[in-house]
């Protein structure tokens, strides 16, 4: 119990002291996960919309792949990216291994299926007849899509929340492809692992408290936005 209390107090001390090492780790964590979320959203929202709206040959297989992707083991993704980016790998020439770029790629792969899957479900839940109604009111195809996205906004925000939650707290893959290098690829989760291994439990708990606070704040912000956008709440 004492360790938890010490960790909690240390977290408060670190935050108020604006510890430079901590700030660097927090910035990198937010930068990597934020950029991965942005890329996933840019790719995943349109893909989710298409899957939610259109019927086409092979859709079932694609949906099954997306659902499988929603449960991808991060270490397996990390390992695959590691092999691809390693010096002997097909993408070794990029020189991305043990850099934030490799971590962003890994986290994008992890959050993309979640964003596609949740967006698809949210869009599919909007009554199909609404599209006909909107077309009959003179909306263009693009305006229809934006309206449907707006109607499904609670689900779309849930997709972003799920995507962010999955990657900000993920450790296995970022350790493999990032290497947990100080000042370069060390993020909150990999720092927690390191501090635990060193037996520095109070520091590990402090970093954990900070990680949870960031996740909570991000989710609170998105939930607040969700509530504001949804007149039923």
């Amino acid at each position: 119990m004492d360790t938890f209390l010490q960790g909690f107090l240390q977290a408060i001390r670190l935050i108020f002291a604006r510890d430079p090492a901590l700030m660097e780790i927090v910035r990198l964590s937010l930068g990597v996960s934020g950029l991965a979320l942005l890329i996933s959203a840019i790719l995943g929202l349109p893909a989710g919309i298409v899957l939610g709206l259109k019927d086409f040959r092979g859709k079932k297989l694609l949906v099954a792949l997306v659902y499988t992707g929603m449960g991808l083991p991060p270490v397996v993704v990390g390992l695959t990216i590691y092999i691809l980016l390693s010096r002997q790998g097909p993408l070794g020439g990029l020189g991305w291994l043990f850099t934030p770029k490799a971590m962003i790629v890994t986290q994008t792969i992890l959050s993309l299926p979640l964003i596609i899957g949740f967006t698809m479900t949210a869009i599919a839940a909007v009554p199909a007849a609404l599209s006909l109604q909107l077309r009959s009111l003179g909306a263009t195809q693009r305006q229809i899509i934006f309206t449907l996205l707006y109607e499904a906004r609670a689900g779309v925000l849930a997709a972003l929340i799920a995507g962010f939650g999955a990657i900000i707290s993920e450790v296995g893959s970022v350790m493999i492809v990032g290497g947990n290098i100080e000042h370069k690829t060390r993020v909150l989760t990999s720092a927690i692992v390191l501090e635990t291994r060193k037996g520095n439990f109070a520091m590990a708990i402090a970093l954990g408290v900070i990680l949870l606070s960031i996740t909570f704040s991000a989710n609170w912000l998105l939930l607040h936005l969700q509530g504001r956008l949804d007149p039923r709440q």
Binding site: Q133, A139, T147
Partner: protein
């Protein structure tokens, strides 16, 4: 003098999978009229409406609008925006009543339609609910919003698909008044799909019976109800047509 039709259906056949659900060799909609299509459930009335509103392409045949045959893909957006449909289910957006009514104006890039929105809401007697979230409305109120959303666009062609099904008499009366006003004051040509023969009688100048995907009889409202020629029309009007 008989005016040129505003819309003409030629040699229409529509199938779902292999089943023919609609076969209309010819149908003219005349400008300025209220044309009612009556018939039992499953007769193909809603399908007919979707073809006329270019929401679906017929398997065969042509839908001619303003002298040219179009499909949902070739119809220019400017022409599409001269017509609209009020469906049986209102399908309102999760926004306020006023924003729902404004939707059609917004997609046309008309941002200053406050007066038109107010006028349309006044016509369906809903100005007092303008800022109310749409999901809090009763079924009748929601359908009146759906009608106001169409009226605000001043459509040349207004399609109504069972607009008063399952509504109470007060809402039915209000909606029928608005339809009549849309036709008389706003100059909309109205195509009304209904299984309610009394409603067709109250509103329409011409009436058609659609049965099992085929138009059995078209006549002026007076002739249709007073002197139906086809035995199936007689049976439908007397309630003896079992379906």
């Amino acid at each position: 003098m008989i005016s040129d039709p505003i819309m003409r259906l030629e040699d229409i056949e529509h199938r779902y999978r292999e089943r023919v659900v609609l076969r209309v060799p010819e149908l003219n909609i005349l400008p300025g009229e209220i044309f009612a299509v009556v018939g039992p459930s499953g007769a193909g009335k809603s399908t007919l409406l979707r073809l006329m509103n270019f929401l679906e392409k017929p398997t065969r045949g042509r839908v001619v609008y303003h002298g040219r045959a179009w499909t949902p893909h070739t119809l220019p957006i400017a022409l599409r925006r001269r017509m609209t449909t009020v469906f049986q289910h209102p399908h309102l957006l999760s926004a306020s009543v006023a924003r729902n009514v404004a939707y059609g104006l917004n997609v046309r890039g008309m941002r200053n339609g406050r007066e038109e929105i107010w006028r349309a809401l006044a016509e369906v007697r809903l100005t007092h609910l303008a800022e109310q979230p749409a999901h809090t409305l009763s079924g009748g109120e929601a359908q009146r919003v759906s009608l106001a959303r169409a009226l605000v666009l001043n459509p040349e062609l207004l399609f109504l698909d069972e607009p008063t099904a399952n509504l109470d008499p007060g809402n039915v009366r209000l909606i029928e008044e608005s339809i009549r006003r849309a036709n008389e004051t706003r100059g909309a040509t109205v195509v009304l799909i209904t299984h309610n023969v009394w409603q067709a009688r109250r509103l329409a100048q011409r009436v058609a019976l659609l049965y099992e995907g085929e138009i059995i009889e078209i006549a002026s409202a007076h002739d249709f109800f007073s002197h139906p020629r086809d035995p199936r029309t007689q049976a439908f009007l007397s309630g003896d047509l079992v379906y």
